[in-house]
Symmetry: D2
Subunit: 488 residues, 4 copies
């Protein structure tokens, strides 16, 4: 029975007996843990959107012959790539956080073409295996998580040069029926909330790194996997029992460390096994998709712009020209990101395997602006919020009979604005600029899908200076064979 609704999705996560550690303790049932649950709600919304707006969040797949959640869809047209961005922005707007499914979506689209290319070069049969795997996921309507980032140890050395070979995920045993893998993946988005994980190499590999060239699918509830939950700014507020101080009580992101302690993977779930020369293309295609997927942050941007406009309204200053101007600047920056993202998608080209790959330059440019503009949007939101955002007493002080009335007396603003609504909006801005969802809106915007320098390196690769220099030289009348000795 496939999962059909958001509620069924949540139920599907129960009783899996995952080994999850959080704040020093093993978590009984992640679904019911107050720190974890908001992240599950965010993923659940991807199911809800597919119910509510099927054109946006689902698509007919020729792999399984059925309409599938768009996060499980291998793109079959340029429009399919663009629609991912529209869906991502919409979910960002609905959740105000990271909804965690883009990694899986971008991973299946990358592996789709890379497995094809390996097969063409090596005579392997990864592509058909992979198609069968994706079709099965579509049939079950499962969440696929990606798992790419290795711990890396000493960054000056390759996998094969590390003192501890496990610092990159590797094959420790090859059997006729499959492989045994060991290692860890760092800060993996939504991993607990997934059903299957796609393990992939984290970077370009050389021949000596052959044992580290492994791509495979693993069920999240495999017994040899341990999850250690990352803590986020203000996460402990979820344990206090209230709602207001959370800012966004319903939705949150999730990152955890995944430790694979000799996990056996049957052959049918192995999609790369030693073909080290394909690690680089896989990483490049994945990051290209994924850098453009950061368009989701424009959905969060819409929320924070809305929150800033609301607090300005509650403060009675919407007509001040500088307030209006700051909102315009926030919108301008937000749409600049969006434009670059969808441009990358609109400029997609078919791969040899037949799915569609976005434009790499524009994808990198999109992500690079994501490492800058959300910070400025947040700064402007804090400007509009006023200092009260960081000096507001706790929800419990508002509930207390001793301090509640005093607070309500003195925090009264312009007529018609409730003190409680005012602080809810302030807490939302705090949540997105300093609290739990600042992790997703800011720091993940910085480092997810590659840190800023990774984009600069990629832009440098693609900016094609020689052709630009030829343009300039022609217009300047440069003659490098002019007898003046020029040989550059």
């Amino acid at each position: 029975m496939p999962i059909r609704t958001a509620d069924e999705y949540i139920e599907s996560l129960r009783g899996r007996n995952l080994r999850v550690y959080l704040m020093g303790e093993r978590v009984d049932e992640p679904v019911d843990h107050p720190v974890i649950r908001p992240s599950i709600n965010a993923v659940a919304d991807t199911y809800r959107l597919a119910e509510e707006e099927p054109d946006l969040a689902s698509a007919p797949s020729s792999l399984s012959g059925r309409r599938v959640n768009r996060f499980l869809h291998v793109t079959e047209s340029v429009d399919d790539v663009v629609m991912q961005n529209r869906m991502q922005r919409r979910l960002g707007q609905r959740t105000g956080t990271c909804f965690q499914r883009c990694v899986g979506m971008d991973a299946i689209n990358s592996l789709y073409s890379v497995t094809y290319d390996i097969d063409q070069a090596k005579g392997t049969e990864y592509h058909s295996r992979f198609k069968a795997f994706v079709a099965r996921m579509q049939e079950e309507n499962f969440v696929i998580g990606g798992a790419m980032t290795d711990p890396k140890g000493d960054r000056g050395k390759p996998p094969s040069g590390q003192d501890d070979p496990d610092l990159f995920m590797r094959v420790v045993e090859r059997r006729p029926d499959g492989v045994v893998i060991r290692g860890a993946k760092m800060h993996q988005t939504g991993c607990l909330n997934s059903h299957w994980l796609l393990v992939m190499p984290t970077m370009r590999l050389l021949e000596a790194d052959r044992d580290w060239a492994i791509a495979a699918a693993v069920p999240v509830d495999h017994g040899n996997i341990t999850y250690i939950y990352g803590r986020q700014s203000c996460d402990a507020r979820a344990l206090e029992g209230g709602e207001v101080d959370l800012g966004n009580a319903q939705f949150g992101g999730q990152e955890a460390m995944i430790v694979f302690d000799d996990v056996f993977v049957p052959n049918e779930y192995v999609f790369m096994n030693g073909e080290f020369e394909f690690a680089a293309p896989l990483v490049e295609r994945f990051t290209s998709y994924h850098r453009r997927s950061y368009v989701c942050k424009t959905g969060l941007g819409d929320v924070i712009i809305g929150a800033a406009a609301t607090i300005a309204d509650y403060n009675g200053v919407t007509k001040a020209s500088h307030i209006r101007d700051k909102l315009v600047e926030m919108a301008h920056l937000n749409e600049t990101i969006y434009g670059n993202g969808i441009a990358a998608s609109h400029e997609s080209k078919p791969t040899s395997a037949g799915n569609y790959q976005c434009d790499d330059m524009l994808a990198n440019v999109c992500k690079h602006n994501v490492t800058r503009f959300p910070y400025e949007i947040s700064r402007l939101a804090q400007d509009l919020a006023g200092g009260l955002m960081v000096t507001l007493p706790s929800d419990k002080d508002f509930d207390s009979p001793e301090t509640g009335p005093i607070l309500r007396k003195y925090l009264t603003g312009r007529p018609g604005v409730s003190v409680d609504n005012r602080r809810r909006v302030l807490r939302l801005i705090e949540n997105m600029t300093m609290g739990r969802n600042a992790v997703g809106y800011l720091t993940e915007s910085m480092h997810g899908a590659g840190s800023p320098q990774a984009q600069r390196i990629q832009i440098a690769r693609m900016m094609d200076l020689p052709s630009k220099q030829a343009l300039a030289k022609k217009l300047a009348g440069v003659d490098e064979d002019d007898g003046d000795g020029e040989q550059a």
Copy 2:
């Protein structure tokens, strides 16, 4: 006989006996004037590109049933809108300046749908007249210039409120067979290099401004028109006889003031006549197209990046990480503009008239970045150029037997780089950041298609704060009917 080649285009401009004034004197033959000729060369390159890359710079038109220059093409698909941007970037790369034909292209696409809408609302027949006009232009392969910007006089007053009613272009007489118009259009790009001008109102009009609601086509060589040429930074260098100091000797832009001294326009060339309420839609559609057309500046950006990379190479510093990083930043900013422009085009929607109109938000965002990023790109180019760019002696000093050898001795840089090539590249950077083509690359980027504040106003209109506020309120748990008195 239609114009077929760049050379034929140039010939078509000769002998028109235009009344053109430049530096205080009437110009005999603009085609041969050294200050004017580079601007003609730039337009000619739009013909040359159509010959060399017909897929890029021409398109089959269903209006005339023939393949036409893309600048004369009414868009028939989303792809047609996107292809405009590709062509614009390419021409920017080829000329390093403003090639002047976008105004006409954007004007015909705007008038195409607005004339249709007027006819629908008023029962007029502007649309068929307009289609016939465009088809004739296509058949002749003419250049259409736009003419929109009025002098405006006292900016606090509408056309009908000015002391001198001529400060906005207006109908001074209505006859059965046509209208007589009077007024001026300021800083009109490429007007002298056009065959016909499309006169349009410059802004939203009210009922009292009915006589100023005029859109019409006028031949450039009409006897009652006077052109007064605008001067540009360093324009006088074109009179010195040399080539190097020009930086870009072949190509330049053109703006002139056009004075219409009671010009009679027959009815067949009148496309709006008193329908004041359609002035605003016309201006909005035109500026929307045109703000996205500023993607052309990414072509200039490619040239200046290429020039900066070349001078770094000539200076022997390409391996310095800060040099590389500045080039990456320039490319990143340039591609950010491009992404927003083509995104606006990719997101085009059909109008009621059937042609395609780009996305307004993204078009404004594109242009707004154009008012910022070329300035930063120029600053970085000057950084890479070094101070020599502004202290280099004149070309004549290099030619002089007394100073030439001294200069060549002391300006020798790394082996293999000729002094002459080095100064040519420096002069090109000067040209684009301070000289003639800085007018197009910087100041026109600022003010063309509307000054920065015009984009901010338009972004403010479209940013839809209420829907963003609703997103925020939902996530914050705001209840504005919570009995707390909130009525906002």
Copy 3:
């Protein structure tokens, strides 16, 4: 017996029976509360610095004839003003947070000259009262807190126009021996950690606001005062028992709301009482000092630059040029702030009362940069920190026998770097960019001493456009009496 040491200071705060509420409960003894204590430690460091570096943090006062803590010193020379900035930066470096005493220092320097001016104008005797008060504080070596920011209610209305007159602090009763005041002061820095509070009006007042024109000193432990503690990002981590996750376990800032429920103030502690026309000068002089006092943030900037450099070192990437370049940028921005601050102080002029007042334009410029640069420095610090900063498991997970060894295995970086040191530095960066001290480093930098727009208004007042226009007109050869009708 005056307070002589940091420890004596801490002891002086005990047993005052303050009515303090925090997270819904009355706090027994603030000195021992884990959320509050770090803020006390920060103030204590102002005593410790005076012991360790007396030239920096103390000065001979002619008021009391003794060497006093510089925070209690009324400036007697330009150098005294500059030395405040040096001390502020040093304390920022030592604590990495807001050490809370600048408000009091700036308040006594402002009131010193304003009370003098009131006396001159009105024949009152505030100045001698005030000098006696300051001398007593110096003798006791007490901490003076300032209390300026009123709740303000409907921001479109003056104090006298509010529905609830208490929304600005006011005199509710005038007696022969003193006044009774009522109202609240919002987000008051370090109020609990002070011995006395200086109450001051929050803005320019008009005649109708006479009852709101009150400046007075009140002991912190007055029985009719209630304190409601503001909560900060991640404050609850202080309740968890560990140290590492706090980032900066020792030091923190403090803001609380102070409610004055009909507090009687004897005449000797009243320094303004109805002289509404002096509210504006008081606010202006105070904000001028205080905007320059934000130089303290360059001390925090030194810490965050040091933390970023350390994590880069631990990650083994200090030689990467982009890393180095980001550190330079951080330093450049930090020193830009510092330069403007000390320039404002160096340009101090004596007041009529004899103390020294800093340059207002430069003080505003300093603060205005503080509303921008710490955000960019934080962004760069997060860039250097890497994503691990927001995905690191909790301290308890590191202590756990089940997860601790796994974490230490997989988080090992380059040889010679301990995992624990690495996470400590990451937690410090989290603390300053998202956690408790981000309140002080970022949001307080935005809004303390006036939000950005307040500085822009003040810069606009002082930028003296007419004189700048005269310069331009002279150079341009403008003749506004040239018979051309110019009368501007």
Copy 4:
């Protein structure tokens, strides 16, 4: 007879028979050349200011025992250093350009202490020679120009490694009574307008470069010197005969290349001769002074802000909030530069020789902002100017009976504003952002006193990361001897 007035200064330049080349021709009398004269006027204004405001622009010198022009003054107090900045800003305001005397002022202050240090180390007698030289200059009231920047040839190689040894200024012959020097100095500010030049090495030298370690004074009219004038944007407008199109008709900057063709320098004018290890300190002290001297650009900033405010006034838009806000931003950036400059001066310390040397970090920070903010100020000025700035017809068109009346009719703006005043202000903005004085306001701001990267290198040297890291480690509780193996 010393020079006493601006007019006497100008007369002192006549009849020197300098060998000056400009635009391919030898200049008869530079004083009367229309391209050169504005630069002479700018220097003359330094004399005029000394007459009009002696406290600002002169100082009592203990070297000559008389009151001397401040540009010839060796600083004797911190205040002397600060007063340089005040004078620089004032002259920037008066001239709107580079007044050319700072190089000499900064050179004498650097050489004063370096000659002292050489004597201390080497037993030479440069310091007394140098004092005698300066005293003589003071007595004559001469202009001293500096000459530091060598051509440098292949930048990857030291002076002694160049194919052509002349690419750095060098001693070609040592005689008992002096030395013979050969080489060139590039883009030397105000050299023609000086009476004496101080030749100095351009960078750190090694032992092999001993012959290039030469500092000496040379009279400008030495027969073996050739000057080749650098051309500037729009310089040819000075040859057109009009005034308006020049923007700033009276004042301009000057850079020229100076070629020393075996110039003999008597011993009394030699101040370093082979002491290569003192080249670095000389360059560092000079650049430190000189980077702070860029405070002059805030005077130009005042002019451009005034021009922008004036054109906004003429356009009738001064009340628009975005206009006001842009002016505030311009002022804020301008004052940020100023604050850093005077802070560097206020923080001066005495050298061993007794004069005062500014703070190096703040001087570098000041200059680094000068490489950024004037560009943004210019961008904003162009925003306020409107597109007319680059499309305005020539002055001759306004004078022409055919086009003048048309232009005056159509360029009429709001009542009371003359068309001629409007275009004068536009031309001034053009002059400063694209024209002749853009060379000084922008490109010289970028590269003078060292390009941006030179400041970054110097900031990196001084930012003292280890001490900042120690602060961070202490607060984070890092223990690098914690048995965990840390040895960093």
